[in-house]
């Protein structure tokens, strides 16, 4: 028997099969679900936990945006401050960070901090909503294609190829010019262009799951295709889908910012990080902070989601090489 030094050390190396051994003798031995084990591993990764903290903070900011801006800052996002307090200097330029406007004002005299906080709402909403739609469609189509195979697979896979070959921006611009730009259209366009990549990944996973003996066992018991897909295939997709969805959210947020930057996304005056960056580009020489802060918000959010996604991938698949540098 290998001497077990600390439970902490054990937890790091523990393959799922070692789970019962990690319980101290006086504790009741209990089977831990693979996801519980993954969570235990994730908790040991400091980068992931910080990222998770940042994401939680962003969610809180988004939910309580009005409360924060009204009570804490005292400046509404869409009010153009012209006198007492004045958001514009006497020469017409916006202010940099100061005591009244902590992150400065924009070209119309609006509070940048307040707008960034409200922009969080749009970004997270689009990120989560578009990703949810993309994942739902992608998992459904990918599972059907991978599991059913044959003609169904051919049709669905080619459809995914077609979707992946659309030029995103051209299509987005033409779509928005047909319909009016809005939040809904943004979400739809982003989901429209990302579900196929989810579908492809899921299809690949299902192709390997389909050949497992437990699928055959289920069939020999008389289970139907729908049941097998829902009960035997789907739980095995959770890990890759969680990872991919976490990495898809920042992509969707950047897509939305791109659309807003081009004036194809959410319509002004609703603040989004994308349209704030658009407003700021003509002032970046005089007032770099105007450009800096919304970009920073975008950067931090994207980074947090990406790092969390990496951490999740390590935690959900302990057999993959761990990043040793992270301690």
């Amino acid at each position: 028997m290998i001497p077990l030094n600390t439970p902490d050390e054990l937890g790091v190396h523990a393959a799922p099969s070692a789970a019962p051994a990690s319980a101290a003798p006086d504790k009741k031995i209990e089977g831990r679900a693979p996801l519980q084990l993954a969570w235990a591993r994730l908790k040991k990764d400091r980068v992931s936990m910080i990222s998770l903290g940042v994401i939680f903070a962003l969610i809180l900011i988004a939910v309580f945006a009005s409360l924060i801006t009204d009570k804490l800052i005292g400046h509404a996002p869409n009010v153009q401050y012209r006198d007492e307090p004045n958001g514009l200097q006497s020469n017409g330029l916006p202010f940099g960070p100061n005591g009244t406007f902590w992150l400065g004002t924009d070209s119309l005299g609006r509070d940048i901090l307040s707008r960034i906080i409200h922009g969080t709402r749009v970004s997270l909403l689009v990120g989560v909503a578009a990703t949810s739609i993309a994942v739902t469609i992608g998992v459904t189509v990918g599972t059907a294609a991978g599991y059913l195979g044959g003609a169904v697979d051919t049709i669905l896979s080619r459809t995914m190829d077609v979707f992946l070959s659309f030029p995103f921006l051209l299509f987005a611009i033409s779509l928005v010019s047909v319909y009016q730009p809005s939040l809904k259209i943004s979400i739809f366009v982003i989901a429209f262009f990302t579900w196929a990549s989810v579908g492809r990944i899921v299809r690949g996973q299902v192709l390997s799951i389909r050949e497992k003996e437990y699928i055959e066992a289920a069939r020999s018991l008389g289970a139907g295709d729908i049941r097998i897909m829902a009960i035997d295939v789907l739980p095995n997709l959770i890990a890759p889908v969680i990872v991919y969805a976490t990495l898809l959210i920042p992509t969707a947020i950047v897509f939305e910012a791109t659309l807003s930057f081009l004036g194809m996304g959410v319509v002004p005056p609703t603040p989004t990080w994308g349209n704030m960056i658009t407003d700021s580009v003509s002032y970046y020489e005089q007032l770099p902070t105007f450009l800096l802060f919304p970009s920073l918000a975008l950067f931090v959010t994207t980074l947090a989601f990406n790092l969390l996604g990496d951490g999740l991938r390590d935690a959900l698949d302990p057999r993959a090489a761990r990043v040793l540098a992270r301690k």
């Binding site: 393959a15 799922p16 099969s17 789970a19 019962p20 209990e30 089977g31 831990r32 679900a33 693979p34 051919t154 080619r158 497992k212 003996e213 437990y214 055959e216 066992a217 289920a218 069939r219 020999s220 018991l221 008389g222 289970a223 139907g224 049941r227 009960i231 035997d232 739980p235 095995n236 959770i238």
Partner: protein, 375 residues
């Protein structure tokens, strides 16, 4: 083992077949897998002849051992019998009913009667599901019970196969290979089947664990009156468990006989070669006995040889073997239960190692008399 008798609720159909009568009959079973090429429009370029005309009878209450080397179609035959693969040709009769290629709904009642135990105890259990739900699956699929009733049934089953019922909520990863195979056995047993097809149930296990699982299967057979088709490539295991043994080569059955008959009087040259490969625990006898070393490789099942599939490697092959597939029938004074498919059956005491084939064989010189190397 609990002596409480049948503790598991069974809701299966009543079976007309009495013990000793034919429970399962396979008639001319053929299973070909098409080989397809092309991305969008697939064209069939060939076929794998996995099972190529198999006739088989399994009697109620017996254990039929099925042996043969890797790729001879044993597992495909198992999957054809359990309805996992549709048949290309031939028929499968269970309890007198034709169950060939039945649609899923019509097949359902028979699924209860025919169950399967899989080779790989790691692959055959879904790693993301709890053991209780895996073993409870048959009850769920066949809508037999749910909730606490199902839990009780599952725990009874776990006890029957020698698992701790308290481990109901564990995941497969928390069990050892032998325990996992017991979970597989419990799942197969849940519906109280009449026939269990065991597809190499112990070949993935440790030797010490193999004995445990074999004994468990043995006990269960007595307790529940089960019929087994036992696939293996380990001849000593087959000798231990089987009442009768069928030898497969390249999708065909070449010899079938009661277990002692086949081990003492093997008639088919392939059976002889197979048996001569079994290690002998006595070093003196091991030195003196003659190994029959087959030459050449197993032919590709995509393009099987004409006539007898064994003719390219058979030490006794003659011209007739190339043209005609011999029928399965008894030879010499053997009992009618001992069938072989060979034009030139091997007599008792005949030395096959010195036999000379009467035809040219690939990879073998026409006068194959050179001393057999220790390859």
């Amino acid at each position: 083992m609990s002596g409480a008798g049948p503790t598991v609720d069974h809701a299966g159909r009543t079976i007309n077949t009495k013990p000793g009568e034919v429970l399962l009959k396979v008639e001319g079973a053929v299973k070909h897998f098409p080989i397809k090429q092309g991305i969008l429009f697939q064209k069939e370029v060939g076929r794998v002849h996995a099972v190529d005309g198999v006739d088989l009878e399994v009697r109620s209450g017996e254990t039929l051992g099925l042996v043969g080397e890797t790729g001879c179609g044993k597992s495909t035959l198992a999957r054809v019998i359990t309805g996992l693969h549709p048949l290309t040709g031939g028929r499968v009769l269970f309890d007198g009913q034709d169950i060939t290629n039945l649609p899923r709904r019509a097949m359902r009642p028979y699924r209860r009667d025919i169950q399967m135990i899989f080779q790989d105890p790691y692959g055959s259990l879904n790693p993301r599901r709890r053991v209780g739900s895996i073993i409870g699956d048959p009850y769920d699929i066949h809508e037999i019970s749910k909730g606490d009733v199902r839990k009780k049934q599952v725990q009874e089953l776990m006890e029957v196969v020698g698992l701790n019922p308290e481990h109901y909520n564990r995941f497969p990863a928390e069990f050892s290979g032998g325990q996992r195979q017991r979970i597989g056995v419990a799942r197969a047993l849940a519906l109280r089947p009449k026939l269990i097809v065991c597809d190499e149930p112990v070949s993935a296990l440790d030797v010490s664990i193999q004995a445990q699982v074999i004994n468990l299967l043995d006990d269960l057979q007595k307790e529940f009156g089960l019929t087994y088709i036992f696939i293996a490539h380990d001849l000593s295991v087959v000798r231990h468990v089987s009442d009768r043994v069928a030898v497969m080569y390249l999708g065909k059955i070449v010899e079938i006989a009661p277990v002692d008959e086949i081990f003492q009087h093997p008639r088919h040259p392939y059976t002889n070669a197979l048996l001569s490969a079994v290690p002998v625990p006595d070093p003196d006898r091991s030195d003196t006995r003659q190994r029959i070393i087959l030459r050449g490789d197993v032919p590709s099942p995509v393009n099987p040889p004409s006539g007898c599939p064994f003719h390219p490697r058979c030490p006794k092959a003659q011209a007739i073997c190339v043209d005609h597939m011999p029928p399965l029938e008894s030879a010499f004074n053997d009992a009618a239960t001992h069938d072989k498919a060979c034009h030139f059956p091997v007599a008792d005491g005949e030395n096959l190692a010195n036999a000379v084939p009467g035809i040219e064989q690939p990879g073998v010189a026409p006068t194959a008399l050179q001393p057999s190397s220790k390859a």
